[in-house]
């Protein structure tokens, strides 16, 4: 690298992102202070306290960031697969050698500290994906190519699930957002969305019945949504108005007739009729696929089959989940009201946030979190402390800074001159978005309680370093954008 080159790189560093990064880390530190404050040990900088340790993690992160800024992009380009391979190996070894900590085997003791390899594997996967998709002739529509990409994502997920850290494994689903940006058909994203909706609606209302009718609200809604989604897909992707009309009349017509019959003549389970209508609809679409030879019909038929069976499948899957996961889902869906059990965290979190009001109780003055009513308040439930001590203004402020941060990452990613940079950038922002979505959502009682940290806020060295690693590799790549590739 020439003198000119280094200078050019320095000028091209994206200082806006770095500024947002520093703001988030400092804000996070104040929150950790609030969450861990101990009246007997008021020294926030003492090593014995979590706030003291968090300073050390933050400081070392800055060192790490500086080091990362010195490593050329060429290195990652060359070593992407090696890094990926070593990480996979490390994840696999962790399953075997990590001690059992409350059922999870994901923490490796390294002298006085413990690290969680799952937090560091994300950047390796992102690099490998970037490298793969940068390959000449990579086509996301090509089944083999997209298959390889998805394989790269699934493998670490399986290993992390093997460590009994389902929460951390789910983070890898975020990479599908990047795949979407790179041209993966939106219908796949839509299918995923639909599956979640089916599962949530189906589970939440499976035991509720429509008044005076032996019809499960969950089953009814899922089947109705399956009809609407399927017909919608035929309309959007195949533009076959005739088919749409026929299907809509059959499905909705039969449903309405069955409802009327059930209300006024003999009450019976309308879902049988709806299921019949769905099967007719699926057969009709398969017929269209065979007749017109348009493969989209076949895919839509597959979607419809999955949709209809998911309600029944999800009950089966549900029964196979571990007890604590099942309880968490049930509590989230409001099927179980248990303020001492699994819902306790969420309930306490809501009380803590709710008591914050507009301006909060002030730094170190939160009582809910001080009394340690919220378990894991300094890690996964750190957002409680923000809400309680800094009120609506602080909490909304954090969210807005995050939004700016993600918006900035989109800009940075989009201006990359090669696919590797852009793919890596989208991987990074997808991960941040996913963490934000799940973590804040669970504290607010909107998403399932999955134990994943809020980047830069949650206490812990592993996660802070992991996110720093992710971010600064991108910033270094970005800083090289004005250089000609050698």
């Amino acid at each position: 690298m020439t003198e000119q080159g280094s200078k050019g790189i320095f000028l091209s560093i994206d200082w806006v992102t770095i500024m947002l990064y520093v703001i988030l880390i400092m804000w996070g530190w104040f929150s950790v202070c609030g969450a861990c404050y101990d009246f007997n040990n008021p020294d926030l900088f003492a090593w014995e306290t979590n706030s003291g340790k968090q300073i050390v993690w933050g400081g070392t992160s800055l060192v790490l960031a500086t080091v990362l800024m010195l490593i050329e992009k060429r290195f990652y380009d060359t070593a992407a697969y090696v890094i990926y391979g070593s990480m996979i190996l490390l994840l696999a070894i962790t399953i075997v050698i990590a001690p059992d900590t409350k059922g999870s085997r994901s923490w490796l003791p390294m002298g006085p500290v413990k690290i969680q390899p799952a937090e560091f594997a994300k950047f390796a996967v992102a690099l490998a994906l970037g490298k793969l998709m940068d390959k000449y002739g990579f086509n996301i529509k090509n089944l083999k190519d997209i298959g390889t990409a998805i394989g790269l994502i699934i493998l670490p997920m399986l290993l992390i699930i093997g460590q009994k850290e389902t929460g951390s494994a789910l983070v890898y689903l975020a990479f599908f957002l990047m795949l979407y940006r790179e041209g993966m058909t939106g219908s796949l994203l839509f299918t995923g969305f639909a599956c979640v909706v089916y599962f949530v609606v189906g589970m939440k209302f499976s035991d509720d019945y429509i008044t005076n009718m032996p019809v499960s609200i969950g089953e009814f809604t899922v089947l109705l949504l399956a009809m609407i989604f399927t017909i919608g897909l035929v309309w959007v992707y195949c533009h076959n108005t005739y088919a749409v009309k026929i299907m809509a009349y059959t499905c909705f017509g039969s449903t309405i007739l069955a409802m009327l019959f059930s209300i006024y003549v003999i009450p019976f389970d309308v879902c049988y009729v709806m299921l019949g209508a769905c099967i007719l609809m699926i057969l009709y679409i398969i017929g269209l696929a065979v007749y017109t030879r348009i493969y989209k019909y076949a895919l839509i038929a597959a979607f419809a089959i999955v949709s209809c069976s998911l309600f029944y499948l999800s009950s089966t899957i549900f029964d196979h989940l571990a007890d604590h996961q099942r309880t968490r889902i049930e509590v989230l869906l409001g099927k179980k009201d248990d303020p001492r059990g699994a819902g306790y965290n969420v309930n306490q979190a809501k009380i803590a946030i709710g008591s914050g009001g507009l301006t909060g109780k002030g730094f170190l003055n939160g009582t809910q979190t001080k009394l340690r009513y919220v378990p894991e308040q300094h890690t996964d439930f750190i957002f409680c402390t923000v809400g309680e001590e800094e009120g609506f203004i602080g909490a909304a402020g954090v969210l807005i800074v995050y939004l700016l941060f993600i918006w900035r990452l989109i800009i940075v990613s989009e201006r990359q001159t090669d696919t590797m940079g852009r793919v890596y950038g989208y991987c990074v922002l997808s991960i941040f978005l996913f963490h934000l979505f799940i973590n804040v959502g669970m504290v607010l009682g909107l998403t399932p309680v999955i134990g994943i940290p809020l980047p830069f806020f949650s206490y812990g060295g592993s996660s802070l370093w992991g996110f720093t690693l992710l971010l600064f590799i991108l910033l270094r790549m970005d800083a090289e954008r004005n250089l000609k590739r050698k």
């Binding site: 979407y180 306490q348 008591s355 009394l371 340690r372 609506f392 909304a396």
Partner: protein, 614 residues
């Protein structure tokens, strides 16, 4: 390479982020601004989960005699924030502790490494288990010690001086226990040894909880939702042991000053009637807060009184093992009831010699058992291992032999309902191949007489005896007979049949009967019921171990007993008389005056073990 085709999607992704953040802000506004319910109720109110401990189940012997019960005790708790103006001197005097102990305890409470759940707002354990008398003194002055509270607990009390190894004990949970099982919190009690540990889930019951509301200063405001969420504790279940307290007491008396074990089993049910491990200790030593110091002392004792030798000790079974050999040879067709082998003061062939004592020769199985002939069983195993018509290789032969042994409950844990069971040792072909390389029958012949590589636990010897008494099956031995409102595990009620037919067992029973009438166990003979027995004299580095197993009555066995006395010499010296007394006590419910005198004499006979580490 640019990908302009899909660049529009950046707006969709940005839109998703915007949507997430906006909807969360709306939710925040709903929680924090519009909703007064959270604000007013949550402003300073919060739950307090007050744990209510259930009483632990009591333990009885098989005749309903109480062995273990609970007594109220009091824990002194402290809320650090509320401690002010404490007169430390007065406080220490009231509780009868030194000032340095007070300071040390306070430091420990504040040490987050040792007390991870520490909070200045919640009750922390200051001093566990003070007695009712100490409590009444403290209670009078309690109002002066701000921040100190009392929590009612129960401690284990023992109504017996015996049976320590079977009963086990309870103590505070270790951090590892808390990590492993969510049920436990620091400061809870858990069974550490014996049935207290193996039946922990039944004995402990289920903790109850009161959900109380309190304000930020910790003052209780009442029950949350009028107590709708409170849960009553479920008391632990009582256990009835299969142990007969009288037999157990006699056994422990007889074993005083000796090392070894006695196990007696009711053959029909597999219920263990007594399980003595010597040296033992007084269970009272494990009561209350002195337990830690007592444990330390016993762990330093070279005689290892904490070790339950009845299930954890592995010994060469000696001649008691010959019964299992006879059975195997009969079933495999190596011998018949009339096969006779010579014994010229031992087993002598090809420069090999296993000595034996004087008796008639040649002789068949029944007298061979009665006189405990070494030559007979060595010849049997020699012919079995060298039978190439039946087994292709010596490895096949030893594998067959091993399968017989395993079917009789040797070589693996029997599955007794106590922690710490050993599996003993039954060698297999692989073991000999690795240890000896090329090997032949002569090299391993001593396993036929229960020496060499073979080791069994006293429990396994007793179980062998029970199997013979049952003529071919055993039920996994167990010490718990009944659980209140429940029943013992199904695995403790199934019959395990060995690979040997009943008819062959009858021949061995005949041999054991003859041993009592005219053989090695003569002194076990009893005019009131027919005793069957087998002595054992196991060689080892020091003086021989004395062993005995026997059952009675012969036709309807009520008890099968195994006695093992380390360095006791001949089986007839200690094993037979002790076994005979145990059988008499159980069958007759008492000892005759003559037997009582004999028991007293055995109680006072001590064996000198020196002071070396064991």
């Amino acid at each position: 390479m640019q990908n302009h085709l899909y660049e529009y999607r950046k707006y969709i992704i940005g839109g998703i982020a915007l949507l997430v953040v906006l909807s969360y802000i709306v939710r925040l506004a709903f929680l924090q601004l519009s909703n007064d319910e959270y604000k007013s109720s949550a402003d300073n109110n919060a739950f307090l989960n007050n744990i209510i401990f259930p009483s632990r189940g009591a333990i009885y012997d098989r005749n309903g005699e109480l062995l273990v019960y609970n007594q109220p005790a009091y824990d002194i708790m402290v809320i650090m924030r509320e401690v002010n103006n404490l007169d430390t001197l007065e406080f220490c005097k009231t509780l009868n502790i030194t000032k340095s102990a007070f300071e040390e305890r306070m430091m420990l409470i504040k040490d987050r490494n040792k007390n991870p759940g520490y909070s200045t707002y919640t009750q922390q354990l200051f001093l566990p288990q003070i007695s009712a008398e100490e409590f009444s003194v403290f209670q009078e002055k309690m109002f002066r010690f701000h921040g100190f509270y009392v929590r009612e607990r129960t401690i284990r009390r023992y109504a017996t001086d015996y049976c320590a190894h079977v009963l086990g004990d309870v103590a505070e949970v270790s951090p590892a226990d808390v990590e492993r099982d969510d049920y436990y919190d620091p400061g809870d009690y858990i069974g550490k040894q014996g049935v207290e540990r193996s039946y922990e889930p039944e004995l402990r019951g289920v903790k109850g909880v009161e959900v109380l509301l309190r304000d930020a200063r910790g003052r209780i405001q009442g029950h949350y939702k009028n107590g709708a969420l409170d849960r009553k504790p479920v008391p632990g279940k009582n256990l009835t042991l299969s142990i007969d307290a009288k037999v157990q007491a006699l056994g422990e008396r007889l074993m005083q000053g000796k090392m070894g074990a006695i196990v007696a089993i009711e053959p029909k049910t597999g219920e263990i009637l007594c399980m003595v491990s010597a040296p033992s200790y007084d269970p009272h030593r494990m009561e209350g807060k002195q337990r830690g110091a007592q444990m330390m002392e016993m762990q330093r004792n070279p005689m290892k009184p904490m070790l339950n030798r009845a299930i954890s000790g592995t010994y060469p079974p000696g001649s008691t093992f010959k019964t299992s050999q006879g059975l195997t040879f009969l079933q495999e067709g190596i011998i018949t009831s009339s096969t006779a082998y010579p014994c010229y003061h031992g087993f002598v062939t090809k420069g090999m010699r296993v000595g034996c004592h004087g008796h008639g020769s040649p002789l068949p199985l029944v007298p061979a058992i009665a006189t405990s002939c070494n030559g007979y069983f060595c010849w049997g195993l020699y012919h079995m291992l060298n039978n190439r018509q039946k087994y292709q290789t010596i490895q096949d032969a030893i594998t067959t032999w091993k399968d017989y042994m395993v079917s009789m409950g040797f070589g693996y844990k029997l599955g007794v309902d106590l922690p710490g069971e050993s599996r003993g040792m039954i060698p297999n072909a692989d073991y000999y191949d690795r240890r000896l390389g090329r090997w032949n029958a002569l090299g391993v012949i001593s396993i036929a007489i229960g020496q060499g590589e073979v080791t069994l636990t006293p429990l396994q010897i007793a179980n062998l005896c029970a199997t013979i008494a049952n003529r071919g099956y055993y039920i996994t031995p167990h010490v718990v007979k009944g659980i209140q409102d429940g029943h013992i595990a199904d695995s403790l009620r199934v019959k395990h049949h060995t690979k040997v037919d009943k008819t062959y067992y009858n021949m061995v029973v005949e041999g054991m009967r003859k041993a009592v009438l005219s053989g090695t166990c003569h002194s076990a003979n009893n005019a009131q019921y027919a005793v069957c027995g087998k002595t054992g004299t196991a060689q080892n580095r020091g003086k021989d171990h004395s062993a005995f197993m026997g059952f009675a009555p012969m036709e309807d066995p009520k008890i099968a007993v195994a006695v093992y006395v380390e360095n006791g010499g001949f089986g007839a010296t200690y094993g037979v008389p002790i076994g005979a007394l145990i059988m008499e006590q159980y069958i007759n419910g008492e000892l005759s005056p003559a037997s009582e005198a004999k028991a007293a004499s055995f109680q006072s006979r001590h064996i000198d073990y020196g002071t070396r580490e064991r």
